[in-house]
Amino acid sequence: MADDTKSLAQGLKRRDPELLDLLIEQYQYRLFRYLVYLTSSRERAEDFFQETWIRVLERGHQYDGKSKFEAWLFAIARHLVIDWQRQKKMQSLDELTDPGQDQPLQIEAQNEPSPLHQVLSHEEEASVQDSLGRVPAIYREVLLLRFQEELGLEEIAAVLAAPLSTVKSRLYRGLEAVREAMQGGAA
């Protein structure tokens, strides 16, 4: 892995377009999913998706290859979202996602793989999204990074630029919140 990330770092330093094409394809689903969770909006996630890769191109020389590429990628995406929130005169992502003011996760489905899949999974998907929408975004984010992206706790701390203890406490609270939300959704 170390060799892979080193050669990746070198390629990013060179701004190798072939490499970037490959990375965009490789990480497209994971990055987009993360952005959707972070912004609660597909449309906005699409904008941030493009902007994140532009930023990867421009700041590629800053990736040192010592950590996982996805952790660095998610950190860039997260910073972009936070910068945008600040531009909107919001104080922080945490404030935006205050449990009391949290907006439900609204994902309008489009361009699904197949109509059949859409019909079959629609109910379950809607139910899961509805339940997840009730989980505050700061918790949704760490849950996604831990249980979908399977990042280590230290890697999540690096993405969030937060202490390990904060990551753990968010994970525990998030786990509780998602369990309650699912129970509530099922009830």
């Binding site: 489009q110 361009n111 999204q129 786990l175």
Partner: protein, 162 residues
Amino acid sequence: MSNEMHARAEKLIARERVEGLAGEEREWLANHLRECPDCTRLAQQTDAALHSLRQNPIPFPAGLAARTQFRVRLRAQELQEREPQRRLVWIICGMSWALGVATAPYVWRAFEWVGQRTGAPKFVWELGFGLWWTIPALVAAAVLLMEKAGRPGESDWLSQEK
């Protein structure tokens, strides 16, 4: 079974999924779950919730990857084209700095002479000398800012209120 045991089990169920458990704790939890249907249900609900989270499909927009690749390539080309210009700016800055250092004693005397001729207080012409030194940096900053301002498409949408 005491409430403390249930509370401990609840904590361990969460910790097992977040951080993992050491052998002794894992064993304790497994024994407890064998005897406690309530905590077993809690563990199952937690797993079900995480399973749903993992399985939650978010369809990827068609063409987004291709559009992004296109934008990234355009930007890469643009950066490549600007690289020599930027290098030129830095070379000029370096030369200007070197010339500034070499001519500093003469410039100092020139400012002193102008100060004496005009009767300006010492701190005024000294300040003028200091500002003289910032000119190359200001020019370089202006060039870089102009370059940034002229960069099309960058974060246009970021500055828009949605």
